[in-house]
């Protein structure tokens, strides 16, 4: 792979306007190279926050493609815009009062029943999630499956932006993951016991001792604890 350098310029079209940018830059960097200082459209710069979601026409296939601008290199001739926000309703819910069922999800997001199985959402996912597949799983009652299969979702909202049924897939998947985490997966086994012991003050004496211990004694104890690292 070649190094990042200032030569080798290629044309790209940001919001329709042509710029010539070094071909090794990411889309995000290319915007900056031509003088953008992001307010919207830039977040973690590491591919997990979804702020820099973008759609572009591929210069060879001429199809509409999607990307996270921080994760993708520019292509010669690409026409690209960012979609940093897409409007969706966010109905409130109280997780404590829910059940991990299709009906429950459908009550909060009734749009899910309108899916026409066109699969556009899947094509729009920059994380390569089988979006329509996850919707079908939920409709079949497989909340756990949808939770697992949507784990890479960065909630950028591109799926929703082209859904003819106006389904907020990314919000539905978050709900599925939460229902799974809360009601389907087993909880940490020892956690309740640990909390009881903490509440009962079982560790107070040990902690007091450590906090008042002579620093040299404490260091010896620390070194021993490090040497006796163990998986128990």
């Amino acid at each position: 792979m070649e190094a990042l350098q200032k030569t080798d310029l290629i044309p790209v079209y940001f919001y329709g306007k042509r710029y010539d940018v070094p071909k090794m830059l990411t889309v995000l960097q290319a915007f900056e190279f031509v003088g953008y200082q992001f307010i919207r459209g830039c977040g973690c710069r590491g591919g997990v926050c979804g702020a820099c979601a973008a759609v572009y026409i591929h210069p060879e296939s001429h199809h509409l493609e999607v990307a996270l601008a921080c994760q993708m290199k520019v292509l010669a001739g690409m026409r690209i815009i960012q979609v940093p926000y897409f409007p969706v309703d966010k109905p409130g819910y109280n997780i404590d009062a829910l059940n991990p069922t299709t009906e429950q999800v459908g009550q909060i997001y009734p749009q899910i029943y309108r899916c026409v199985a066109c699969n556009t959402c899947t094509k729009m996912c920059p994380q390569d999630i089988n979006v329509m597949g996850c919707i079908s799983m939920i409709l079949r009652g497989d909340i756990e499956g949808a939770a697992a299969a949507s784990r890479d979702c960065v909630m950028c909202g591109l799926c929703t932006s082209r859904c003819p049924a106006e389904i907020p897939q990314f919000l539905i998947f978050l709900l599925a993951r939460r229902l799974d985490g809360r009601f389907i997966q087993k909880p940490f086994r020892f956690l309740p016991t640990r909390l009881e012991r903490i509440a009962a003050g079982d560790y107070e004496a040990e902690l007091n001792a450590l906090m008042t211990m002579d620093i040299e004694v404490l260091k010896v104890r620390y070194q021993k604890q490090q040497q006796d690292k163990q998986i128990i």
Binding site: G47, R182, P187, I198, K229
Partner: protein, 541 residues
């Protein structure tokens, strides 16, 4: 072929030594040996990287130069241009920053009965928290305990931590896990024991990292964001704090926010303000690349300091041992410590190991610098960046084929886009600026020395001392975000704010001018500037 020929020769050596390295044991350094290594090679110890602060509460203290220059700059807003009589919003608790600490503080303050506004610079949830890969610590296994966690943390910080804060951290973090679990954060569990995965992170003597694949932070943020949206919390996105407001009694009484989209300043009056603005990675201390998100520009420290808040550990930065060194497009991005927990080794140009990979980060990062700069055994990329190998294929060799792909979906995709399959080939790494050890000094409920001003999360300092253990930051966010949020709400009924004022901003600028130390800059800077040539990375070592 992903790696250029010039780098492949070294990969070949690494492959040749792999088998003999598999069972090689490298002992843990003694405290003295470690201190010696830090002195020689930790970037914090380089000459000229700190300078003395000339005015304010920390006058006389040393701070990293980049931060000192902003602490001693003029305000980004002209205080005279702000009309304090025009109050946009009045609440009990104003939380600034919507990462893990801010979202938590807002939720708990609201549930405790306070009216809450949550102002944040970018979108709700855009933060360092969302990038956390490895996990969150809590002593929730039978073989572990809060006191073992306490001692690991104190030692990890070289015993410079504030003990009361560490105690709060180690006793409250199981509660944080319970809270997150009940909210539906889908933590990984060891299927045999229903405990956290049996992995040791650097400097920890027991497994205690609760993870969600390598998407831990993102997963938590998505859930907490929804919880904020489910409550009557006034969310203000793209609203950056540019100054705190004090009243005539010297209490914190609100903040001036700057709407980044309309460029209009807004006055929010509040009985308490909780600063949860996170870290300073985007200052690129010493020119290092950073693992941090776009908004990590130290704003909370700047405005807090002008308002009289005491800061601490300003000369102490955490450099993560394994920032990405190749390809250039990914420079600085984090490769999670959990890769080393699963057996990935650090290896130099000759295919040799040089440090026990599961020691604390300050120590391992220093060893990486030593190998590259001191011993000249680094690997050089076509751009001139140098690094050492993280031998990640060991993960599948030790834990079975497919482990990398299953356990590191996020990182796997990230490198695959550049044709690097790190289940088969190593990753080139070098230390990157990762975490601000210091920050606003608080007590164990997040109160600063300024009445009604709190700090929580990375913007606060003390709990981690001069070196934070992996996974302890996420615990810190929920422990202190919760404590601060609840305390602010409970105290709200008894707080009477006086007349609002920005006099402290003038006074501090005057003090700087008198000391001859007012810099050219203005601060807080709010957004980093990568325009034009600045987009090209620097390759400082």
């Amino acid at each position: 072929m992903p790696y250029p020929e010039s780098m492949r020769a070294s990969i070949k050596k690494l492959e040749e030594t792999r088998e003999s390295r598999l069972n090689q044991k490298i002992p843990i350094l003694s405290i003295d040996e470690k201190n010696q290594l830090l002195k020689e090679f930790h970037p914090d110890y380089r000459p000229g990287v700190h300078r003395e602060l000339k005015a304010g509460v920390n006058k006389g203290d040393m701070a990293v130069v980049e931060l000192a220059n902003l602490l001693e700059a003029r305000s980004t807003v002209d205080p005279n241009s702000v009309d304090l009589s025009k109050i946009e919003l009045e609440v009990d608790t104003l939380v600034v920053g919507a990462g893990g600490a801010g979202l938590t503080a807002a939720i708990f303050s609201c549930d405790e009965g306070a009216s809450v506004a949550l102002a944040t610079k970018l979108r709700l949830g855009d933060s360092n928290t969302t990038m956390a890969e490895g996990g969150i610590n809590a002593a929730i296994s039978p073989g572990d305990s809060p006191s073992i966690h306490y001692l690991d943390t104190m030692g990890g910080g070289n015993f410079t931590n504030i003990p009361e804060l560490v105690r709060a951290l180690s006793t409250d973090s199981p509660l944080a896990i319970k809270w997150l679990e009940d909210l539906g954060v889908p933590f990984d569990r060891d299927p045999d024991s229903d405990l956290p995965l049996p992995l040791l992170a650097g400097g920890h003597s027991r497994p205690r990292v609760c993870s969600v694949g390598d998407y831990t932070g993102m997963s938590i943020i998505q859930v907490l964001r929804a919880e904020v949206e489910n409550r009557p919390i006034r969310v203000m996105e793209f609203s950056a704090v540019v100054e705190l407001i004090l009243d005539d009694k010297g209490q914190c009484a609100g903040a001036v926010l700057f709407d980044l989209l309309t460029r209009i300043p807004q006055v929010v009056k509040a009985k308490s303000v909780i600063i949860a603005t996170g870290g300073i990675g985007r200052l690129h201390i010493q020119g290092f690349p950073t693992t941090n998100h776009y908004g990590a520009t130290a704003d909370g420290l700047i405005v807090g300091y002008r308002a009289g808040a005491k800061l601490g550990y300003l000369d102490s930065i955490q450099f993560h041992p394994t920032g990405t060194a190749y390809p250039d497009q990914l420079l600085g991005l984090l490769v999670t410590e959990v890769s080393r927990s699963r057996g990935a080794q650090l290896v130099d140009v000759n295919g040799e190991r040089y440090i026990n990979e599961l020691q604390t980060r300050d120590c391992v990062a220093s060893a990486n610098v030593r190998q590259v700069i001191g011993r000249k055994k680094g690997i050089t990329t076509p751009s001139g960046m140098q690094g050492v190998w993280l031998d990640t294929p060991l993960i599948d060799i030790i834990h079975g084929e497919g482990t990398v792909q299953k356990s590191y979906t996020h990182l796997y995709h990230r490198f695959k886009r550049y044709d690097i399959d790190f289940s088969k080939e190593p990753i080139l790494i070098y230390p990157a600026q990762h975490y601000q050890n210091g920050g606003i000094i608080t007590d164990d409920i997040g109160r600063s020395n300024v009445p009604n001003l709190y700090a929580a999360g990375e913007a606060a300092g003390g709990v981690h001392g001069r070196n934070r253990l992996g996974g302890n930051s996420l615990s810190d966010l929920f422990v202190f975000g919760r404590r601060a949020g609840i305390d602010a709400a409970r105290r709200a009924p008894e707080i009477e704010s006086g007349r609002l004022s920005l006099n402290h901003v003038f006074e501090y600028a005057n003090a700087l001018e008198t000391a001859g130390s007012l810099t050219e800059a203005s601060s807080p800077i709010l957004l980093p500037d990568y325009r034009f040539e600045k987009v090209f990375p620097k390759f400082n070592q």
